[in-house]
Subunit: 461 residues, 2 copies
């Protein structure tokens, strides 16, 4: 999947990982094009003046910005920043391009790399100094249109996680403390990794409100001929998605890939035996691959003669291929194949006549089953608490904690301070859109003040 | 297409340009996948030690390398380079991944941005400090396999130019002086811009030989159990392709897009008249768009009520849309549409019954005709010369000059020195694979020594 690189915090995405990214990209790109969002490409570099235009925004990113100061042997006149995100790169041009209400909505997206030179615990996929993402930047005449898009995009992010990566996520809103620097509000899909007991921010869709519009003077003449300011959104998902998938599904044998994102969905392995008709078996493997490929299933055979079948089983299990097909002398004689699932090791003898249909069923079943199992495990980690004592106990048990909260920023800071330790502090993950009932008089788990909403808390990547 | 950016030499690719890039990308990506080349992603950053490992290579790129020296407020311990190309980024890992002959061939590609901080004449698309490209990097056991791939890829580049962009190119080999720094030989597709009388290197496919393999110790155990060194290629095409297309086809009215790369192939414009059935005309426009879209033709209607039909004609001509369909009262009454070609302004009345078929024919015809016209113009610029006097005269006439050459590097340097001037010096463009006969005793146009091959010369971007 990945190779460590000689610059700390940078990683090489090998083809096995890249193909997962490409499958998600194909899906998402087609969906946003249906929404009339158009792709573009803005420069990697930002001048320091523009970068610093929105105060809260730059405060959020400044410590992580990488600066180019030299080209060849020459010092640049002014240092130039590498984009940590492109709000300040793009919005001066939004201001230029948007004149009247007919120029709205302006809906752009780009697929690119960004750099955040973080020093804390680089982790492959999850926290790296350079990563790939898409970033959408849109401007609307009204807040209602912006609000609608925020949720439309969030739904696509949910689908990437749940339908493609088979990772259950919770849709919700970030706290004031955790929202995007300079934005109005941030929505998120939050995943959870039971093995480590940590939440992961899966992808975020922000309503920026009019803060950036004000700073970058993005105005338009509305239908009544009056000057008005646009409402903006930005939204992104990154290669982190792949890391979340790995952590949620992986087991002792290695990766487990959901069929929808596996570049090889079925690996076919000949299992010859000394007296057997080896050529017949190899031909049957080739024919199996051919039938599957013709039906749109991504299958390959491993015909290498310098590895044993057993070695190959382990190899492809480690790589996470969802389904293995073995063809040995008995299978060949009976005109059948043996299929072995990566997710639960279940074995199925399949007559050649039913091959395509049964394999397709198995792949669908694996996709659904991975999601169901992950959801069961995730749900088993959710703990509802009402008091600080219960909260601390649940945190010790590495739970994803749902607690009534007063929604005050000072209280969140206090929770962070009180839970500091080797494992890292707890923070709010999101207030789920799907709110359980909050009876009148319910108190905040942390402050004892009246609670305003249910919020998920936990340690997080 | 493009917007100038506040950092010199950087440009914004707007959706109209980006969609052309995406169409070429879809084609090329599918073709290389058929060749079993896999996509990956290596980091943007290179450590200075690795960058400097191949001497000729770094000499070629050093003056253009951008250096990151700071993150946030901290100085980095060691400056880090931004990739100008990824040979030195990737090959340490080729060395790690390749052990035996079964690991070969290793064929990788990545779609990414690169930075070359040039100071001479930044030009949109053609010469920019950051650009998008694909870069392929492959390793083989034998030179024969590498040689074959070099030409297979070059053929794809020819197809991008000729079949998609409708730009004629000449396939050939670069001189020693013009070849890729550190490589063995460079093949190229060369385009020519008649209006400016300049050649353009369209895309290059390099055989790197074993130079990098030696420096990065990329060895493998061959089938006989002996240690051997790999043969490598690298190849790339960039967003420059779009610039070449613009310069070759553009006219006084603006862009002219070949149908195959036009995100809107047909623009449908209602031409209402005061007494006419405006609703009927608008409905006919919508029905026209619907039929065309259902047949896979990219059509849109321009229903804006604040612009006149005439304004819309100019607007979409400027944007280069290959075919305009007008529907006015008479067309509506006669159940027909009027189609107007962007390339030659020819008008065609098309009965609604034949719409899809005729429009498809027209688009195919425009695609072919753009290529044919461009080739005629290009061919009219080719001048065969034998002497220095003829060469200088042809250069003055902004020709693409085909001349017999002794193939000596010193002579090429001398030609450059002797043609220096306001317009820029002449250089060799390529020695075409398709060589005219070179009778015994033919002399070099520049040195008077025996000529070894025919070579194209000219001023170049």
């Amino acid at each position: 999947m990945i190779e460590y690189y000689d610059i700390s915090g940078c990683y090489i995405l090998r083809p096995w990982a890249m193909s997962i990214w490409e499958i998600m990209q194909t899906f998402f790109d087609a969906e946003i094009k249906k929404m009339k969002i158009k792709n573009c490409y803005f420069p990697l570099f930002v001048s320091s003046g523009v970068l610093q235009k929105e105060k809260d925004h730059i405060e959020g990113f400044a410590p992580e910005v990488a600066w180019v100061t030299k080209s060849g042997e020459s010092e640049l006149e002014m240092p130039i920043a590498i984009r940590p995100t492109s709000e300040t790169v793009m919005y001066p041009y939004f201001s230029k391009w948007i004149r009247g209400h007919r120029d709205l909505p302006l809906r752009l997206n780009q697929w690119c790399n960004v750099v955040r030179w973080e020093f804390s615990n680089p982790t492959p996929f999850i926290r790296s100094r350079e990563f790939l993402w898409q970033e959408g930047h849109t401007a609307f005449a009204t807040k209602e249109e912006a609000d609608t898009e925020v949720l439309d995009i969030l739904e696509l992010y949910r689908r990437i996680y749940e339908e493609f990566l088979a990772v259950p996520v919770i849709k919700g809103k970030k706290s004031e403390h955790e929202k995007f620097a300079g934005g109005l509000y941030t929505t998120t899909v939050e995943a959870f990794v039971p093995n480590t007991g940590r939440g992961v921010q899966g992808a975020t869709s922000h309503c920026l409100g009019q803060n950036f519009a004000k700073m970058f003077e993005i105005n338009f003449e509305n239908e009544k001929g009056e000057k008005a300011m646009v409402w903006q959104n930005s939204w992104a998902y990154t290669t982190r998605t792949i890391g979340v998938m790995i952590m949620v599904h992986g087991d002792d044998k290695g990766l487990v890939l959901p069929p929808k994102v596996a570049s090889i969905q079925v690996i076919v392995i000949p299992v010859p035996y000394k007296d057997a008709d080896t050529k017949g078996i190899f031909d049957a493997c080739a024919a199996t691959v051919k039938s599957l490929n013709e039906s749109g299933i991504h299958a390959e055979a491993d015909f290498r003669d310098n590895y044993s079948p057993g070695w190959k089983y382990s190899h492809w299990e480690m790589k996470g291929v969802p389904l293995r097909i073995e063809i040995g002398p008995k299978d060949y004689a009976n005109n059948q194949v043996r299929a072995v699932r990566r997710d639960n090791s279940a074995k199925h003898d399949i007559p050649m006549a039913d091959l395509v249909e049964r394999v397709q069923d198995l792949l669908n079943n694996i996709q659904q089953s991975l999601f169901d199992v992950a959801k069961q495990k995730r749900d088993a980690c959710i703990k509802v608490v009402h008091t600080w004592e219960e909260f601390v106990e649940a945190l010790g048990q590495k739970k994803m904690i749902l607690a009534p909260w007063c929604d005050e920023e000072a209280v969140e800071k206090d929770v962070k301070a009180r839970t500091k330790g080797d494992m890292g502090a707890a923070k709010s993950l999101c207030s789920p859109f799907d709110q359980p009932e909050l009876p009148e008089g319910t108190l905040c788990f942390a402050s004892g003040k009246p609670a305003k909403k249910w919020t998920y808390w936990g340690r997080s990547y």
